[in-house]
Amino acid sequence: MVAMIEVRGLVKMFGNFTAIDNISFAVPEGEIRAFLGPNGAGKTTTIKILTTVLTPSSGWIRVAGRDPVREPAEVRRAFGIVFQDPSLDDELTAYENMELHGALYGVPRAQLRERATTLLGFVGLAERRRDYVKTFSGGMRRRLEIARALLHKPRILFLDEPTIGLDPQTRSLIWEFVRGLATEQSVTVFFTTHAMEEAERVADEITVIDHGRIIAEGTATSLKERTRSTSLEEAFIALTGRDVRAEEANPAERMRMLRRAWRGR
């Protein structure tokens, strides 16, 4: 099996703080991998490094066979990402957001129109394509972000807590769609979530990270067996302990709070 994501001895320091402490893992093509861990465990930092927006302190990384540090453009073409926070332009319409993405990724114009229309249809936004994103609900925005992430036919899809704050209908629609991508088009999916039942249901394999280290890896069944638990949630708590983690108030977190306050006016 070809590994689409391969990491060996990855370390990321922020000053004296070790955010990622020598982790290694590999995700084969077409697999759905859940990347689980408590707040501040290093999930988002790892995704940022894999997606070229943060440089690692040390370690060997390959994403779609390329080095994110030395060949960022090639790596960026190979993946699509749905960030934890919104990343759409509210002042543009749904279709304009797709169009902009297509232009940034160099999708040929004719193909762009066709794919954008098809994908908007898949995520149930065909009717709303000419509406401004600012009129969309949280679930609609998420679906649009997923459609947009797939526009340039990525081989890897990163999803950072994609279902946070969504209703059960939207969540199950999103996961069904993602499953289909993996099984029918061999898209490799790498996602984080705090919803353990989602990870249990959707993921082929699970990697658990805590305090910047990988503490367990395997299928949901094997993790449950190993910890003698009846659910993945129990297994997760057995592995990572009961301590509630303090999430660092980094700039991104502050912005998130600010945005919530802004929206809530």
Binding site: L100, L104, M255
Partner: protein
């Protein structure tokens, strides 16, 4: 280049759709135009300098341009806050191209804003010497727009949130505007003030616009354009360096 073009278009769409902002940012230059233009008119004429309205309109046009230009650049902060910035940062496009598209977009909207102020000035009684010669004001307006849009982009790349915005406006943009030849002639100013006004890049732009409207076009304008162009290019380079250092 398609990437730069779509980001340019985005800035234009956002500008055209935010009608309230367009009208709102006309307010300040118009206030200057009417309060100062008509208020100082009599004194200015008595001091033997001629028509103050005709003198100040180029300054007020450039005011509209620099404020819109800087604001357009600073919009990066909003993109950071509302998340869109990430979409451009993970795209397989060199950061320089992103900066170019954004800055040109910001500059275009600033130029449009300047033209809007110009049209209102004509209605208010501003006269131009010769319509064809007045066209020479356009490259000056465009370069002021580009320069200040690049300054805005550079600042927006460094500032993390909007709290720093008043600081930039009151300690950078306003002083650049006031300590130039935009509102008063530099002839006869106290030496330090005169020196500041003379090295202020905005002064070159305003002088060029003024000469073009007053029918005093000369070869010296080429030098002024070259200076402005070189500065705009330098600021664009600085902006793209600062933008390339943004980490999420």
């Amino acid at each position: 280049m398609r990437a730069a073009a779509i980001l340019w278009l985005r800035q234009l769409k956002r500008y055209a759709r935010a009608r309230a902002r367009m009208v709102g940012s006309l307010g300040q230059p118009l206030l200057f135009l009417f309060a100062l233009g008509f208020g100082f008119g009599p004194i200015f004429a008595r001091a033997g300098h001629g028509n103050y309205l005709d003198f100040v309109v180029p300054g007020v046009i450039s005011m509209g341009i620099i404020f819109t230009g800087v604001f357009g650049g600073i919009e990066i902060i909003f993109d950071r806050q509302f998340g869109f910035l990430k979409e451009t940062l993970v795209a397989p496009v060199p950061r320089f191209v992103i900066v170019l598209g954004r800055t040109l977009g910001g500059a275009t909207t600033a130029l449009l804003q300047g033209l809007l102020v110009f049209i209102v000035s004509l209605i208010a009684g501003f006269h131009i010497h010769h319509p064809l010669e007045a066209l020479l004001a356009l490259p000056f307006m465009a370069l002021i727009a580009l320069l200040f849009s690049a300054i805005g982009t550079a600042i927006g790349s460094v500032l993390k949130d909007i709290q720093g915005f008043p600081l930039i406006m009151n300690f950078l943009v306003m002083p650049i505007f006031f300590f130039s030849n935009a509102l008063f002639p530099t002839r006869g100013l106290p030496a330090p003030l005169k020196l500041v006004a003379q090295i202020n890049p905005l002064s070159y732009g305003v002088a060029g616009i003024r000469d073009a409207f007053a029918g005093q076009a000369s070869l010296g304008m080429v030098t002024d354009l070259a200076v402005l162009g070189a500065l705009a290019a330098l600021l664009l380079a600085i902006a793209s360096y600062l933008f390339s250092r943004i980490e999420l």
